[in-house]
């Protein structure tokens, strides 16, 4: 027998599907079950592993907060001075972990699949900024979170990673167990604006 995967919202895995219950004329909310993640955590000073880690990951590991680097369909986000989150296609997650573990056999930099720890949402549209500021104190304006930047903050009382992909396009990651609450909150916020 083989187990079958589900997305965090119990939808089809590897999909980009509209979130059930979200209705808005000014924004679109999708669950991005196609996004894989690998968590990198350094056992030593981050600078000591960046070069090797970048080579193994196939994308430069940023050394500055808020910065996202991209290469070959992968992105790397700075989480802390010693940790990074690499986004990749979900098919690639295990291979990426394997390469990094091979590069660090003594686990001076530890890679672990993190895909299922998070649920990724894509929120877009002219009303997307309003919805986000409904639940978040983060600066989404000029110099605050520019296109291509990322921040960790609270949105609707839930810890979230917010990535600004486009002017009115956001990727938001929340911890998996809170994803249903988060989707319901965004849906309620959108509904009350219509």
């Amino acid at each position: 027998m083989n187990l079958q995967p589900d997305s965090a919202l119990q939808a089809s895995f590897r999909g980009k599907l509209p979130v059930t219950g979200f209705n808005s004329a000014r924004a679109v909310l999708l669950e991005r079950a196609d996004i894989g993640c690998v968590l990198l955590t350094a056992a030593v000073d981050g600078a000591a592993v960046i070069v090797t880690g970048s080579a193994a990951a196939g994308v430069d590991l940023p050394s500055v907060a808020g910065l996202i680097t991209r290469a070959d369909g992968r992105t790397a986000m700075w989480l802390s001075p010693k940790s990074w989150l690499i986004r990749c296609d979900v098919e690639e997650e295990r291979g990426l972990v394997g390469r990094i573990r091979n590069a660090f056999p003594d686990h001076l930099c530890h890679a672990t699949v993190f895909t299922d720890a998070l649920c990724w949402f894509e929120l877009s549209g002219p009303g997307s900024l309003e919805l986000l500021t409904e639940g978040s104190p983060i600066s989404l304006e000029r110099n605050g979170l520019p296109v291509g930047g990322a921040k960790r903050t609270l949105v609707a009382q839930v810890a979230a990673i917010v990535v600004r992909e486009r002017e009115n396009g956001w990727l938001i990651a929340v911890e998996r167990s809170r994803s249903r609450y988060f989707a319901n909150w965004l849906s309620a916020a959108a509904a009350s604006r219509e």
Binding site: S136, A156, A188
Partner: protein
């Protein structure tokens, strides 16, 4: 009651349209642009409520939020509000307003008879009276006669939103000061937010007779507003009250979004600003004199505002009582509007009154060095009595009196930030003292009453803050400014005539000068005691119109200057904010983030009854029994006799990796984790520096450099943070990484004699025989086609495996296990799981431990003794108090009769019922099907030495005899664990 009327011309109302509304059931009319206050006055409404204590009739005192009297219950199409000031409410179609005080009506209130007892109802009466025979006899009656507003059970459709925004400059107030500042910042590139509580900016420019450049003041305000709107970096928030100022230049704002039928939505804004300009202005201060609380007496500037903004006359005959020149502005405005101004009574010398010539020229009689000694008219003012310097008294008939006793700057937001007000003797007012960093104050709030100076100060403030951020702000072109000055203020805190028992200081709470004198006599002389003893300023207006007069009168009683009194502290919010608006959509299922297990849908399919344990977890399953107890018994039986399936996904999972991972973990746990071999699991507890147990759980070694720590569900995040804290601050040179991965994995436990058979059904790619996979081991491999970690570890005392797969497979795994047709396992909820572990005598953190329990108290003394190397808490465990035999120690209890309750107190030997000395308490208890009796765990003094002793456990009025035993009630030889 036909004293008030709508002026035939003027105002900013839309006379082409009419709005219908009701007040106390009567249908009235108003116009768009009216507030509820202006519309009621225009309709001749006089008495709108009653005062708090004496139930004296109260009329409108102010035109806006400064009015202490006009609290009304208001309902529009969208919501009901039990208490709003009439001046805050903008008239809308179908509005219903009702008085909230007075029975049976505000016009005729039976409780007004309380005035006859005013002699015994003075300040502090409740400390001295209504004591015999029992205060409780009087309390309900007093409660019923007080209070504002009646809640109503209604369906509301008003929506609430929250917005968060950062800005470079936050300007509080859209009057001349705020607009001048904003105007100077146009085109600067700075992000500016200006908030004003009115539907349009302009403040006093909308109703004072002023000219700026070639424009009238209100037209200048309109033009500036248009210019501001054209700058995309600037935002004006109308109908927005700034309710609070917090640390770090954070502010909360309340914005009302209106349509013709009411407030459709409310927005709470949270603004963070780099620079703040306080431009909140000031309000008139009342005059204190005998009979100063009658309906028809109003603040002078409010009268001007009624006339010019709303085209409403408060009365047909008007007198002015003033100690400054602004009273003359009201006299002239009223005269121009066709109101008969019978006199200006000025307490100052004639030479101080700069507008006396203009007033006399308009035919207005001016009396100088005069004071009002009394008034008449119970339901409405009918006359004032005036006394001059020679003592001559004169009665002047009038139906309205505008009073101005000086000005009170609105310094509340600065006070929220801890700024101590400073007394300004020139203005006889308290101004903001040392402002917080990056704040400036402009205009009336800074004590400036002159328009030209205000405009110049606003522009200058903009220039200064521009310099702060390196942006050059030019000064505006010179413009002529016309407007009558408010002149000088000569305070008259305590008049020379009249009884103090007839002079009101706080109109809402019925605090009189005589009450302040009582407080002084009884030594409640500090401003804080004055407030609380007399209730001065404790009403819904927060003392806006009463505080300064009250403290100045107390100062006079004490023979000190007003500034020596200090002030009380204004605290948020500036105005009331609906709890529903604050809650936004955090109600019901959205009240707080709910955490769902990966297999939540499967639990629902099996009719789980969920409880919030931090995660939503099945407590029991309806399919297992008709009642909770029946289901729990069935679930326990399934585990003991067959196999049960339990979702343990919430248990913490932290990967601790690196060359120093073993040493790192050893420093946290009581057990030595550095000797753990790959593939082996060890149970232990960890303590904080004081030796008290912080968490318990297992640690598995996956490989040479990879460990997996499994803290309890409730401590998953805090243990990871604990690890990080020590790694970063105490041991930064250790080569270790901490990676919390709790949510990535779904963990399903299968427990019972058939657990191995059920596991085999998942086709593991590793040997699961007892010999190859003994107790307390972990394997990584593939099961049911996916990567998995399987730990053989037991919480129940049965053969048990915890199968961890990536969370995406959690639901599928749970389903696959429960649907096994041959083995037919049962789902098991948390209640049964905890009772099973109790039978085995295993610790449950938080139930069997408290804030004092150490590893020594739970029987880990040998382990602690064997540790030669250091671990967190070791030193504390060596101290004598930790080693004392008198400590509460964890033991088992076997009830010899009856049912045992968790929380029952263990009575000291020889005691049979409380009150008496007790030796401890029952930490966990349940009926054990395996034992056939009630069992429990307990923390009892000297517990380890008392095995076999019979003790009494007292709970709910009865004492149960129990024998102290070893905690392991079930399979003490662990044969089933190793099966």
């Amino acid at each position: 009651m036909s004293h008030g009327y709508r002026l035939p011309v003027g105002g900013r109302i839309d006379r082409t349209r009419t709005i219908s509304f009701t007040f106390n059931g009567s249908v009235l009319k108003g116009h768009p642009g009216d507030t509820l206050a202006s519309a009621l006055i225009a309709n001749g409404v006089n008495i709108i409520g009653r005062s708090f204590k004496y139930h004296r009739p109260r009329g409108f005192y102010g035109a806006g939020v400064e009015d202490p009297n006009s609290m009304l219950a208001v309902r529009d199409r969208y919501a009901y509000e039990p208490a709003l000031r009439a001046g805050q409410v903008h008239l809308c179609e179908g509005l219903e307003a009702r008085s909230v005080t007075g029975w049976p009506t505000s016009g005729f209130d039976l409780a007004a008879g309380l005035q006859l007892f005013s002699g015994i109802l003075g300040a502090g009466f409740y400390y001295k009276t209504f004591k015999w025979p029992n205060w409780a006899l009087f309390e309900p009656l007093i409660e019923r006669s007080t209070g504002f507003g009646r809640p109503r059970d209604t369906v509301e459709t008003r929506v609430a939103h929250h917005r968060h925004v950062n800005c470079d400059v936050f300007i509080v107030g859209g009057g001349p000061a705020g607009l001048a500042t904003a105007r100077a910042l146009i085109g600067s590139g700075l992000k500016v937010i200006l908030a004003d509580d009115q539907p349009q900016v302009g403040g006093s420019l909308l109703w004072e007779q002023t000219g700026i450049g070639s424009r009238a003041g209100d037209e200048w305000a309109r033009v500036v507003a248009v210019e501001i709107a054209a700058d995309t970096n600037m935002t004006v928030l109308n109908s927005t009250i700034v309710t609070a100022a917090y640390e770090g230049n954070h502010f909360t704002l309340l914005q009302s979004v209106r349509d013709p039928f009411g407030v459709r939505a409310e927005y709470i804004w949270k603004v963070h600003a780099r620079q703040v300009v306080l431009a909140t202005g000031m309000i008139d201060r009342p005059m204190v004199f005998a009979g100063n609380d009658r309906p028809g007496i109003m603040l002078s500037s409010s009268v001007r505002r009624l006339i010019r903004e709303f085209a409403v006359a408060p009365a047909s005959t008007l007198a002015i009582y003033t100690n400054n020149d602004s009273g003359y502005l009201t006299a002239l405005a009223a005269q121009q509007a066709g109101i008969n101004v019978v006199a200006v009574v000025d307490t100052r010398e004639e030479t101080a009154a700069v507008h006396r010539v203009a007033a006399r020229g308009a035919g207005i009689e001016c009396l100088f060095e005069a004071q009002i000694t009394a008034t008449s008219g119970y339901r409405r003012l009918t006359s004032i009595s005036v006394c001059g310097t020679e003592g001559a008294r004169r009665r002047i008939p009038c139906s309205s009196l505008a009073v101005s006793g000086g000005f009170t700057p609105l310094i509340h937001l600065a006070s929220h930030r801890g700024t101590k007000p400073v007394y300004d003797s020139r203005l006889s007012a308290f101004l903001p003292g040392k402002l917080p960093a990056d704040w400036s104050a402009v205009g009336g709030v800074a004590g400036t009453a002159d328009l030209a100076t205000t405009l110049a100060d606003g522009a200058r403030a903009a220039r200064v803050l521009g310099n702060t951020v390196g942006i050059s702000i030019g000064l505006p072109p010179d413009e002529s400014v016309e407007g009558l000055s408010c002149g000088t203020v000569v305070p008259l805190w305590r008049p020379d005539h009249g009884s103090s028992a007839e002079m009101w200081v706080d109109f809402q709470n019925d605090v009189k000068v005589s009450d302040v004198e009582i407080a002084a006599r009884e030594n409640y002389v500090s401003v804080e005691h004055l407030k609380r003893y007399t209730t001065l300023g404790m009403g819904t207006d927060q003392g806006r119109t009463s505080n300064v007069n009250g403290l100045a009168i107390m100062a006079g009683s004490r023979g000190v200057a007003p500034e020596a009194m200090g002030t009380t502290t204004f605290r948020p919010p500036y105005v009331a904010v609906r709890m529903g608006t604050i809650a936004n959509r955090r109600r019901g299922d959205l009240y707080k983030p709910r955490r769902l297990l990966p297999a939540h849908s499967v639990h629902e399919e099996h009719s789980a009854v969920f409880e919030d344990f931090g995660w939503e977890r099945p407590d029991w399953y309806r399919r297992n029994g008709e009642s909770r107890e029946a289901a729990v018994a069935a679930e326990m039986s399934a585990v003991r006799d067959h196999v049960g399936v339990f979702d343990s996904s919430s248990l913490g999972k932290i990967e601790v990796t690196g060359p120093d991972a073993a040493e790192f973990l050893s420093r946290f746990y009581v057990s030595n984790m550095s000797t753990l071999k790959a593939g082996v699991i060890r149970y232990s507890v960890m303590a904080k520096e004081d030796g008290v147990i912080f968490d318990d759980g297992v640690v598995a070694r996956l490989s040479e450099y990879v460990y997996l720590a499994s803290p309890t569900s409730g401590n998953a995040e805090s243990v990871a943070a604990w690890f990080e804290r020590w790694r970063q601050t105490e041991w930064p040179s250790m080569r270790v990484a901490v990676s919390p991965v709790t949510s990535h994995w779904a963990s399903i436990a299968i427990a019972g004699p058939k657990a191995r058979a059920l596991l085999a059904h998942l086709d593991p790619d590793f040997d699961i025989s007892n010999a190859a996979f003994p107790h307390m081991r972990i394997r990584e491999g593939v099961i049911a086609g996916v990567e998995a970690r399987v730990a053989r570890v037991s919480f129940t005392g049965e053969l048990q495996y915890e199968i961890s797969v990536p969370a995406r497979y959690g639901a599928s795994l749970m389903r696959a296990l429960l649907l096994h047709g041959e083995i037919k396992p049962r789902p098991v909820g948390l209640e049964a799981w905890l009772r099973l572990r109790l039978e085995k005598g295993y610790l449950h953190l938080g139930s069997d431990t408290n804030g004092r329990t150490t590893p020594l108290d739970v029987g880990m003394g040998d382990l602690v003794a064997k540790r030669i190397d250091d671990f967190i808490g070791k030193r504390s465990l060596a101290l004598s108090f930790a080693r004392s035999d008198e400590r509460e120690q964890l033991v088992g209890l076997l009830a010899l009769e009856g049912a045992l309750d968790a929380g029952a107190r263990i009575l000291a030997p020889g005691q049979t019922r409380p009150p008496c000395r007790t030796d401890g308490y029952v930490t966990s208890a349940c009926f054990s099907p395996s034992v056939g009796a009630w069992i429990g765990l307990a923390l009892i003094e000297r517990g380890f030495a008392r095995h076999g002793e019979v003790v009494l456990a007292y709970s709910g009025g009865s004492a149960i005899a129990c024998r102290v035993t070893n905690p392991a009630f079930y399979d003490s030889g662990n044969a089933r664990l190793h099966a």
